[in-house]
């Protein structure tokens, strides 16, 4: 590993992708992921790669589809409204079992929404990246270092399971700079073989098809079920999380990405007030770290989920806890970021036995949902 460099999250994502053997980037400008594309436009020509500014988000994801089908590690990046547009292409990639990296630097929505940090695309990422039965693996890094690391892992898992992978970050992580130790560059020769690729059979093998169409219903059912068998394998082996001071915690905070940083600050402040609180930080959102939440149910008296949304990941926590403990929720949305002190106030109430479902109105800690 090399020395630490100071980089924006967006730039670290880009550089890490190049080091993971990605030589094809297809994108479309949108705030707040702009630096990523700009970085790629500077770097790709220098490493013999392709930076292509597509005519639309839709075209960009379909270029990833084609490039990945051709056997190359390919990626696109965007922010929430753009990722909605990519939904079609992601669905086709799932249906054709194509790897490929999609980065979503989330901003507030729905619609044009805003450009400030948000986590309101959790459902889109974990439930409905596009039409049909299917999932993508979703990483939710919380530091610039983890952003770089997750890109390397995303390409690796994408090849291993033949699935698109999404890195779900937000404007705050994309824009911030932190020191990062970049992964060692992979040699292009060492990348996993893709014997299924449509790169021209050269008369050396049978022809390959990359396709998501099954006109015979039974064939489609078989294909989906085979894919879901793989999903079970992913759920069993790829759940990732970080636990912080959960061993003796009465209240377990659950937060991911940038919100987990605020939660971590809140844990420190609350501990000083004598509240026994810990943090579970999902690193993969799909597969959701079910086992980590399950393991906390016995010790915890209550859970508190904090996100930058009206409450999306909280559903997954409630599904695991399944009524055995109260699951409270506290958040801001629309680009407002909660302060650690606000989370501490919410923690105090939960620690005192209250169950809250709270999104402050105009910064006031009243106004339960």
């Amino acid at each position: 590993m090399g020395e630490k460099v100071l980089m924006k999250g967006n730039e670290a994502l880009a550089e890490a992708a190049i080091r993971a053997g990605c030589r094809h980037f297809f994108g479309y400008p949108i705030t707040p992921q702009t630096e990523l594309a700009a970085y790629m436009s500077r770097r790709m020509p220098k490493v013999g790669g392709t930076y292509l500014q597509a005519e639309s988000e839709i075209a960009a994801i379909n270029m990833v589809y084609g490039c990945s089908a051709g056997g190359k590690r390919a990626m696109t990046s965007s922010s929430s409204p753009g990722v909605s547009l990519k939904g079609e292409g992601i669905s086709y990639m799932i249906g054709a079992d194509l790897p490929g990296l999609i980065i979503n630097i989330q901003r507030g929505g729905p619609g044009l929404g805003g450009i400030q940090p948000s986590q309101a695309d959790y459902w889109m990422a974990t439930r409905a990246t596009g039409h049909g039965d299917g999932h993508v693996i979703v990483f939710a890094p919380s530091t610039v270092q983890e952003m770089a690391d997750s890109v390397a892992l995303a390409f690796e898992l994408g090849d291993r399971y033949r699935t698109p992978v999404m890195v779900l970050a937000d404007g705050l992580l994309g824009q911030m700079m932190e020191p990062v130790e970049l992964p060692e560059p992979l040699s292009l020769e060492d990348l996993p073989a893709r014997p299924w690729a449509i790169d021209g059979h050269r008369g050396q093998r049978k022809s390959n098809n990359v396709n998501s169409l099954y006109l015979v219903a039974q064939e489609l059912e078989d294909a989906i079920q085979a894919r879901f068998d793989r999903y079970e394998q992913i759920k069993a082996t790829e759940q990732r999380f970080e636990g912080f001071m959960t061993e003796d915690a009465d209240v377990v905070l659950v937060a991911y990405g940038a919100a987990s940083r605020i939660a971590r600050s809140a844990v420190g402040k609350a501990r000083k007030l004598g509240i026994k609180v810990g943090l579970i930080r999902p690193i993969t959102l799909w597969p959701f770290p079910v086992d980590a939440i399950e393991a906390a149910v016995d010790q915890a008296k209550a859970f508190l989920v904090t996100e930058f949304s009206m409450g999306q990941m909280v559903d997954d926590v409630r599904l695991v806890v399944n009524g055995r403990r109260p699951v409270s929720f506290f958040a801001h949305t629309g680009g407002i970021v909660q302060t650690p002190d606000e989370v501490v106030e919410a923690l105090k109430r939960v620690a005192a036995g209250e169950t809250i479902n709270l999104v402050p109105r105009h910064g006031k800690l009243t106004g339960d949902l």
Binding site: L6, I115, G171, Q175, M176, P179, R264
Partner: protein, 183 residues
């Protein structure tokens, strides 16, 4: 404020005043010192002339929220920024203002003020456009968050390769701010 203590800094002013660059010098210095650091810009549709601010955290522990909401130090380069953040500065904190740009403001009693006529000083010393770095020099003088040597290395890293001719003036601006004793 103890030397080497954790420091949450807010640098704020107009776009074009070098707010983000100023924050970058502090961030690089922290990194060279081997500390945990984060640098977070405000971002918005305005490219120039709008308000800009930048959160920098220096810490010996992993940094939680990188968004500085109650800064230990506020560096204000215009009046709107001062007014926006003054009430959020932690009690006992420091406010450094460019007094050429910020005048006629109400002062808090529990804050240590450094009023540096940075813009005027920059013109006087032929350091046009480096009021921001003069104020970082003052931050260094006031808090000892790092050393002159490290901050000079940080300037080397912050100045883009296309403008290496600007490193020397930046370093002069830093020294000017650090040694500045008016007020």
């Amino acid at each position: 404020m103890e030397k080497g203590s954790n420091l949450n800094i807010m640098v704020a002013g107009f776009g074009g005043q070098g707010i983000l660059f100023a924050g970058k010098i502090v961030a690089y210095a922290g990194m060279i010192d081997g500390r945990e650091i984060s640098w977070l810009p405000s971002y918005g549709p305005e490219m120039r002339g709008g308000t800009a601010n930048c959160s920098v955290c220096l810490s010996d522990d992993p940094i939680g929220s990188p968004l500085v909401t109650d800064p230990d130090v506020l560096i204000a380069m215009n009046l709107p920024s001062y007014e926006k953040f003054v009430d959020h500065v932690a009690p006992g904190g420091i406010i450094i203002v460019d007094s050429t740009m910020v005048a006629g403001f109400t002062e808090r009693k529990d804050i240590q003020y450094h009023k540096v006529p940075a813009t005027a000083l920059s013109e006087e010393h032929e350091l046009q456009g480096l009021a921001n770095v003069i104020l970082i020099g003052r931050l260094l003088g006031a808090t000892g968050f790092s050393t002159r040597e490290v901050c000079e290395l940080a300037i080397d890293k912050s100045v883009s390769a296309k403008h290496t001719d600007l490193t020397a003036p930046n370093k002069r601006a830093l020294a000017l701010g650090e040694m500045w004793e008016g007020d």
